[in-house]
Amino acid sequence: MTLITVENLSVRYGANTVLHHVNMTVEPGEIVTIVGPNGSGKTSLLRAIIGATRPSAGKVTLKSGLKIGYVPQKLHVDPTLPISVERFMHLTNRVSRRNCVEALEAAGVPDLMKRQMSQLSGGQFQRVLLARALINQPDILLLDEATQGLDQRGSAGFYQQIEKVRRETGCAVLMISHELHVVMSASDRVICLNGHVCCEGSPAVVASAPEYRALFGTGTGGALALYRHEHDHHHDHGENSREAAE
């Protein structure tokens, strides 16, 4: 059963229409990536899905009882706010210590429980955000540019973790990214957005679509090559090939 259905969605801020007539769906277990240039409405689409932005037309339907794990783009912990990783993990849900440990393990940072959030590195911080989103066994993970501020190696590692989580828990993933080459290889489906849905489909289809090329130019030829290279090896030893590709 479809997890998220977006029908004919338009979002307006004042006179400025940022999204018009967007249609999309997310099915259980799939990884969908939204790519698009700055100002293309990626974040507005995600905000409309979580209910932070009211659509001016159209609607967003979530499967009833859908559990969402949300990984924000940036989370600012003010230096005056003392909060440990453990406390942060059960910010919105009461969870057992074991769940907490498991979620941190799933996100690849098992040893951070007692650390203060303000002492974490950028990469650790993003993984703790991921762990917090996983703690409730969500049906779908939503990630908004979750690797901003990480270097290429860091974000490649982060996306590998996402794939691993999907493999192990079967949860769907909907993410926004500007790191085309890293993200596209990890996706089942790519939606190219620029105020409306320009094109969508498998990464290979989107990468060769003229609409996509018009937006991102020919500079993405390399990304496509990277993607193809990885896809050859993806199913048996995807991890190795990705390291080789770095």
Partner: protein, 265 residues
Amino acid sequence: MLDDFMTRATLAGVGVAFAAAPLGCFVVWRRMAYFGDATAHAAILGVALSLTFQMSIFTGVLAVALIMALTVTLLAGRGYAMDTLLGVLAHSALAFGLVAVSFLSGVRIDLMAYLFGDILAVSRADLAVIWGGATLVMALIAWRWSQLLTATLNEELAYASGFDPKREQLILTLALAVTVAVAIKVVGVLLIAAMLIIPAAAARSLARSPETMALAAAAIGAFSAVAGLRSAYVFDTPAGPSIVCVAAILFAFFSLIGWQTQRED
């Protein structure tokens, strides 16, 4: 027991500290310090209105503080930077309040009592209002604690968790207005923000979780009230400012200890 003015004053100070300290933590975490100031300064306008329409001071101040806080919330993000906006509103409200008070011919009012508080003149009825308001604020914050904390950290996270961070902001605004209204008698409009911010800031270096910070802030605030009143009595100094001085000394003390331990780490 309540017949003694010092006992009533102490209870009033502790009541205000209990409400102001946990609320002050949010003011500090969300960087709303100036917001507290603006709301407090508007209170003098509330005093003028109360005297004009012969309402209780509490009602007038509460209404104006609430209107002020809501206005700031509404205007936020519409052209002016927040600190400019607050600077304009806070000082205009104070100025209009002072002018309005001067129009009240025939009413002799002691302006100093409202600017710096008049804690030694707290009556039993005042005490009931202060503790009623303080209990309301504490209950509101305890009830919404985890939502307030989530909304403070990240707005989208709040939406994704199924609640509206704007409503949480409104709850803080309401709590702030109530706190200002009950604190005016104790420390006066000019020092209310100090009761919000200083205990919370002093508690920072002692705490490793948001909850302990709020509790430590309440303890520091309450201690400041007791010790401040005592020293005001002994040294014959103004009571409200004495309370704030004790809090400031505690802030300096704990901050120094905090820096010291950080360097040793």
